[in-house]
Amino acid sequence: MGNPETLLEIPLEISDVSGQKVFSVANAPTGNTVGELVHEMLGKMNLPRNDASGAPLTYQARLEREGRHLNASERIGDALERGDKLTLQPNIDAGMSY
């Protein structure tokens, strides 16, 4: 394993809430933020970006290794290691608005 400070990209594994959608990312740029990673992965994983009314959904990436939700502003190179597993977990409403 190389010095993390010199690695430009790292491999990661990303899953959805159910754990039945899992995608391997070969080249997550260490200079990018977690938020940028989440944004791009939502499209790759076909996860909805908006709720029923069209308002944007918020997803947080949970890092399995540390058992915590990452901040969107954290740098991949600072927060993550090669092979880390993340779960994309949404803040989402069931119900209806009158």
Binding site: S24, A26, N27, S53, P90, D93, A94, G95
Partner: protein
Amino acid sequence: MTLTFPYRFAIVMYGEDGTNLGTVPAKRDWQWAEEWTRFYFQRRGQLALNGNGCASTLIPLWEHTLGEPYCRGYRVQIAQPEGRPVASDFPNTHFRDVAAAVASRYVEQKKLREGEFYSYMVVAHPAPPEAPKAGGLSVTNASPSVPARDASLATFLARAKPSGVIDIDDMPVFVSQQVLEEAAERTRAEEGTETGGVLIGTLWRDQAAAEIFAEITAQIPAEHTSGSNVKLTFTPQTWAAADAALQLRKRGEVFLGYWHSHPVREWCKGKTCTPEAQKTCRLAKDFFSADDEAVMRAAFPRAYSIAIVANDTAFTDLTFSMFGNREGITQPRGFYVLEEKTHGA
């Protein structure tokens, strides 16, 4: 799964007098139809359980009389590394919601009068070739196989009672009585406020019957939520807590969906509905809102996932409705209530 689109679909809208009001790109979520197709053939043993990575394509079905570019529906076709592709066909009614949204905009734009009848046709044109994208994430589908273990469907059927209308196209779902009792208890405890939980259990495969079925073994109360009489918010902390509870059980169970309550009696109070109106209100039973469906798409996208709604009305005992993906649309469906614990065999 990689769904490709060699064609772009659009809606041609017509007014009451047949006037062409315009053509609008048909933007909709195709995944539900793709998931249905994939699981339908996996259930029947015609697509491998590890076939979640097989490439799929969405193509138009041309209208018999008018021909291209007019469509009578669309087809989801899934390739297999060894063997013939499998496919499901879907009707133009799948574009109904798209047309309704367009009609609403047309009313605002005065292209349609409020309440005016409209019709639509679906068209498709070859998609322009896409230039290869430079950079970006290099991603591969590493989704696990459908996690089904072997069991006898007949064994489960012998110890279960049907609830609701059983459709032979639906994957059989067995729910333990305890799960329903816990959901009912929680619903009554939170009277007037929506509450819910995550459903976990096991997928079973009866190869002789060419069927996969689900057993809901437990519900994990949704924590770290916020609820009102019309809304229940699931947060990232909710999902994390549910996952932790699932892992602690160490029973090889998987997430199979979620349940939540509809405090209909509370809704009716606010609207001062008469008892007679309440009994026939569409919200009283088998109601699944667009928000409810959005939770499924964001958290439980596989076609074997289901949702349960606990209907708390003023005029009858608490009832349960189940919803699932049937032919690419979320629809109410029947299920079986297990009278006693049944695992495998």
